[in-house]
Amino acid sequence: MLALTGIDVHFGAVRALSQVDFLLNAGEVVALVGDNGAGKSTLLSVMAGARRPTGGHISVDGTRHDFHGPRDAAAAGVQIVYQDLALVDAADIATNITLGREPRRRAPAGWLGLVDKKAMRRVAREQLAALEVSNVGAVTQPVEMLSGGQRQAVALARAAIRLGTDNARMLLLDEPTAALGYQQSRQVERFIVRTAASGVGVVIVTHDLPLCFEVANRIVVLNRGRKVADVERAAADVDHVVGWITGSREPQAGLA
């Protein structure tokens, strides 16, 4: 479905990514792992259209795409939840969740760009409920009043809405559980599994190996900008994955 071929990203003399191939199929969860600086987030931002690769190309369903920005990626069906969440602190929960996809009033008010605030709040509450998050409180509170986990829930809810409204079929999550406690990580895990079960391909960038082995179908390991392993979860072994991450294990045959 989403295929990246020979992706290079250079920052001046620094090669953040070299000749990386990556494939994401419908309904599949791929974990992208690697040490700090391995290029995981860079690869994710290339998929999300937030960074243009220096070389290589991206195709969706066999059609080549040149993502000039996040809007192009979204139009091709790719949604992302950034690690910093990209929330607007001063805006309320409902506004954040629907930002960019604000429900409009019916015509003729809709022609003037008037938004349906009631629908905005309802949609926000429904999405949070679907995420099994019941403790956020009123969706009219500003996001800056929320705790870190609640903020994560808001960002996930925003992505979930877009999966529906944009018919997006690929979801990218950057460190979705890095800041979360045990219970909240389980909620996110269930969200990932449910989302994949609905046919959406999910990529998670994470340091959380237990999460990888819990939810991923496939594990892709990056080391210093190169792909060193691409293994089915069933065939993977934690020690091998750690070896690839740290570089103490030789890359898989045919890679790097």
Binding site: G37, S41, I80, D89, L114, V133, A179
Partner: protein, 353 residues
């Protein structure tokens, strides 16, 4: 890549028990939130009450209310210009320059027998173009403050060149009294201009997706961009609205004075800036409400009126306005701390992979 330190900005869980202390329902955060939401209205009402008792019987009269409304009108219009742009994330200091050029353009066109409506719209169009030029420079990566100060200087040069550095008088035939000195239902004309700008601005910001996104871009431009909002477009819109409002302000000032001065009125800029600061609009963007700017402008005019009616020299009002500006910023800072805002949360963990 994400290091543990970068994650420190996002901590906690989804339950209220782990919410930061700011959510604990103490009196201090509630007071702070209340001050931020309604402080400017309370200050204004307090001033009205104080001067009614102190300044003498001439203060609390319908006639003086008209004078105060009239006096605050231009500050309110320029305040809307500054406020709309500030909400989108940039401070536009070229406002008085735009006003001077627009006023001169309007007066010159009227002197050349151009129909009034056409002259007014052309002058507003000039304001829009100036806004676009400001926006283009800022989108090229130039610092908004420096850019708009440069524009202010350039515009004062343009206004001087166009007018021969002389005020352009409005003739009896081409007067703008309908916009300046006329009263409708005993209310001065500029007050209606203010009403139209603020109602439209309020509708735009709170009821339309355009305003919602403009505020989002002002609050977190990079975040909004990465989730697919056309951030530059909304910053441009902020400058265009600012330019248009500044031009309207320039036309109204020319209408009231029956002449267009080519010299930018920087005093008007500082008054408008004070009104914006009093309203609690963050000068860094994304936070605040336009109607409160109106109360900011009313506070300044009320203060002036009360002090003058009491018989104090106008210099005292100038002094008080300056203290208000600093005081407003101090209150903003203080209430933000009480609410526990981590002002730059969300940008601190931005990184490149």
């Amino acid at each position: 890549m994400g290091s543990p330190a970068e994650h420190a900005t996002v901590g906690g869980d989804l339950t209220p028990a782990a919410a930061p202390p700011s959510r604990a329902a103490g009196w201090a955060p509630r007071l702070a939130a209340g001050v931020r939401a309604r402080g400017v209205v309370v200050i204004w009402l307090a001033l009205v009450a104080f001067f009614s008792a102190w300044a003498g019987p001439a203060f609390f009269t319908l006639n003086n209310a008209r004078l105060v409304a009239d006096a605050s009108a231009t500050t309110a219009i320029f305040g809307a210009a500054l406020g709309l742009c500030a909400l989108a994330g940039a401070l536009d200091l070229s406002v008085p320059g735009t006003a001077a050029v627009a006023g001169v353009v309007c007066a010159k066109l009227l002197a050349d027998q151009v129909p009034t409506a056409l002259a007014v719209f052309a002058a507003i169009g000039v304001g829009v173009v100036i806004g676009l030029v400001n926006a283009a420079a800022v989108e090229l990566g130039l610092n908004p403050l420096a850019t708009t100060i440069g524009m202010l200087t350039a515009l004062s040069g343009i206004a001087a060149l166009m007018s021969g550095n002389q005020p352009v008088l409005l003739s009896a035939a081409g007067n703008l009294n309908w916009l300046g000195n006329n009263h409708y239902l005993t209310i001065p004309a500029p007050v209606f201009v203010v009403a139209v700008i603020y109602v439209l601005g309020w509708l735009l910001l709170t009821k339309t997706y355009i305003g919602i996104r403009l505020l989002a871009v002002g609050g977190n431009a990079d975040g909004a961009r990465r989730i697919g909002v056309r951030a530059p477009a909304y910053r441009v819109l902020g400058f265009v609205l600012s330019g248009a409002c500044a031009a309207i302000g320039g036309i109204v000032v020319a209408a009231v004075l029956s002449q267009a001065s080519p010299t930018p009125d920087t005093n008007e800029l500082f008054q408008a800036l004070t009104a914006v600061a009093l309203s609690g609009i963050a000068l860094s963007g994304g936070r605040g409400s336009l109607p409160r700017v109106l109360f900011g402008a009313l506070i300044i005019a009320t203060l002036n009126s009360g002090l003058i009616i009491h018989g104090m020299a106008p210099a005292w009002a100038t002094l008080a306005t300056g203290i208000l500006l600093v005081g407003a910023l101090a209150i903003d800072q203080g209430t933000a701390k009480m609410l526990g805002f981590v002002r730059f949360r969300g940008t601190s963990s931005r990184r490149s992979g």
